[in-house]
């Protein structure tokens, strides 16, 4: 929630700088962040604002926040209110896919026009340093033997952490419906439960546990990316540990329904230009996000695939019927 706020001062400064360099740009955009100011999506939206204006791709960018219910309130407003408007965009991500199903949202992601995936963050599974579990295989054996005895600490129910716990159980041949997942509010509480030895394992974005991992208080069982993370070369991937599982907490940007093909192309081109700009690269570096740009039809297919995967998991763990 925090990072975005920090960027706010920088945003203003850069927005001013942007005005001078971007005299030729005509694009005026409105980006909705379906979360409170300070949330991850808000951070993405405001970083986009910063990159788009600073690089001169857009003349002006406005960010508005509509928070509530995992982004589904913003989504509903976007689908109904921005229909056919080629100057609007909305930030979304992995979490919204689950929230739509959980909250029985009347609108869903098939109603928006996919534009591009922008960033992704690897997840990590950790155990307390004094835990007898050393590797992904150790954890897999326990989950297979008795899923009830393996307590997982992570973020909100139905969120990316929860879904990953279920996917892990499924991937190792355990019973995903029987996982004992305990949602905590915010990373801090889950971390405390881990450090206090109250739970078996914890799942979160790598950044959230980084300090404790480096201090040797938590041990990495596996990261969820395809290859080892550049900032944590010692941490093995789950795949190396013999668990065939890849989960990325991605963020993307979509346009309203009912826009014309030209409008869509303008937006898609702008996003592609932004994603390849040096301003965007600097923001990604400063915030520790990975570039995961994926545009056009590929992103559309990716979104469908993730939707199907998340839907199946949520039904498996019994959160959606």
């Amino acid at each position: 929630m925090l990072k975005s706020i920090l960027s706010r001062g920088a945003v203003t400064a850069l927005a001013l700088a942007g005005l001078t360099t971007a005299a030729f740009a005509q694009l005026e955009l409105k980006i909705m962040a379906p979360a409170a100011p300070g949330g991850g999506w808000d951070g993405t939206a405001r970083s986009m604002q910063q990159a788009l204006t600073a690089s001169g791709i857009a003349k002006s960018v406005q960010v508005n926040n509509v928070n509530g219910a995992g982004g589904t309130i913003g989504l509903a407003q976007f689908v109904n209110g921005a229909k056919g408007d080629g100057s609007q965009l909305m930030v979304n991500g992995f979490v919204m896919v689950g929230a739509i199903l959980l909250n029985k949202s009347p609108v869903n992601l098939s109603q928006v026009t996919p534009i591009a995936r922008l960033t992704a963050e690897a997840q990590v599974i950790v155990v307390p340093a004094d835990s007898p579990i050393k590797t992904a295989k150790d954890l897999a054996d326990r989950v297979k033997a008795d899923p009830a005895k393996v307590t997982w600490a992570g973020g909100s129910a139905g969120g990316v952490d929860h879904i990953m716990a279920a996917l892990f159980a499924g991937a190792v041949g355990g019973d995903a419906t029987k996982i004992n997942y305990i949602p905590f509010s915010g990373g801090g509480e889950a971390l405390a439960a881990l450090l206090g030895g109250r739970v078996t394992a914890g799942i979160s974005g790598y950044g959230e546990f980084e300090g404790q991992i480096k201090a040797g208080k938590l041990r990495v069982v596996g990261v969820s990316s395809g290859a080892r993370l550049p900032n944590a070369p010692d941490a093995p991937t789950l795949k190396e540990g013999g668990v065939n599982l890849e989960v990325l907490n991605w963020r993307s940007v979509v346009a309203p329904p009912g826009i014309t093909a030209e409008q869509r192309k303008v937006l898609a081109d702008a996003m592609e230009k932004m994603a390849k700009s040096k301003e965007w690269a600097e923001i990604l570096k400063a915030r520790g996000w990975d570039d995961a740009y994926l545009g056009g039809a590929e992103f559309e297919a990716f979104l469908k695939a993730e939707d199907a995967r998340v839907g199946k998991v949520l039904r498996d763990v019994g959160l959606v019927k």
Partner: protein, 499 residues
Amino acid sequence: MDTFNALMHGFSVAIEPSKLLFALVGVFLGTAVGVLPGIGPALTVALLLPVTFKLDPAGSLIMFAGIYYGGMYGGSTTAILINAPGESASLATALEGSKMAKAGRGGPALATSAIGSFVAGTIATLGLAFLAPWLVEVAVKFGPWDYFALMILAFVTVSATFGDSPLRGITSLAIGVTLGLIGIDRLTGQARLTFGVPELLDGVEVTTLAVGLFAVGEALYVASKRFRDPEEIVPIKGSLWMTKEDWKRSWAPWLRGTAFGFPIGALPAGGAEVPTFLSYSTEKKLCKYPDEFGKGAIEGVAGPEAANNASAAGTLVPLLTLGLPTSATAAIMLAGFQQYGLNPGPLLFAERPDLVWGLIASLFIANTMLVIINLPLIGLWVRLLAIPQPWLYAGILVFAAMGTLAVKASVVELSMLFVFGFLGFLMRRYDYPVAPMVVGLILGPMAEAQLRRALQISLGDPMILLENPGSAILLGLAFIGLVAPFVMSGLNRFKASED
């Protein structure tokens, strides 16, 4: 000794005139923004953080500390002056503080709050400097069962403050707990009592309920009896400053509030609400003038305010030693620290002692600065109450609406504010206490989530609550608190019949 030297070094950096100026500006900005209703300390810090980035690390840290304390104090000012607490932690302050303000004792209320914050902040920051590594070891050992027991203890203690009718008090509390059920269940993600209204999925905002019941409800109530029993708001009666008597009645609550606030604030899921409630109930019990409670007792401001500030310093314990952000404010501070190149966590004290001790020294200085610039402002704040009554209440309602819209700009949220306002009006008419309702909304969901986590870990075995010494002791205390009044009154009656 090491700690002491490090701290002294921190002070030597923070005491330069330019740094003092940054502290002053920080406190001023923090107070100015924090005083807006609906903008609690978390949002204040978030909004003003970018201002600090333009300075060097030492300067930005000290300005940041100033913003933090200023924001906290600004929140209490709104609670006292217009009965619109900007966050749940200043709820207890509003109870007595707003009564004092209306009776012309706004000056002493704001003063005891400022000085209490200073005393609590100073003691708690000392605790942070010297006890943090030890305290944090204990704090992470706290399991869900212990938190549940702590919530139960808070429930029992608070129920002692229900007023003359236990039935009406419990009813108010039960309605609050019911409101707490609304929204997405934290442990399964299921929607409860939302009736298909998507805006209800996130539950009822504590500030919407508190501002509705307190500020709007009160405005309706006062308007309704305007002719029969016109309310008289006296901006200043007696001394603007705390009298000798006020000092005598304040110092012990400050210290007790600190004793509640610091350790509970240091718990990863302790929060600021529980200690403020505990402090309020304790002061009400111990007060030599119990009749004054509900009419503006200074102890009821001094204690909770100290508890609030001490718990804020307490949240820095897990934040600095473990990198655990345990409140919204702490989460934003964490981001701020990272921007200054401080990476809170187990290695921080070893890796960057200069910055840590610089920060702790900054906290002391900002805390002092807060008192220095806010005490003279009290006269100005209190004068706000001299605005003619129609405009005063009109302004209060505008600020209530603004606070609600700043949190969530939706018609549903405003409608809730209105409904709660009307409810508050009716409850005042029929002499139902309104505070337990807010307490129920805050504590209910916390207690439920912790109990269910505990039972999930124990695979459904309730004995886990009694097998762990921490929770067993806390539940024992709660039980004693529950039955003691009955036993005592029984004994008294027994004695009386003997005579």
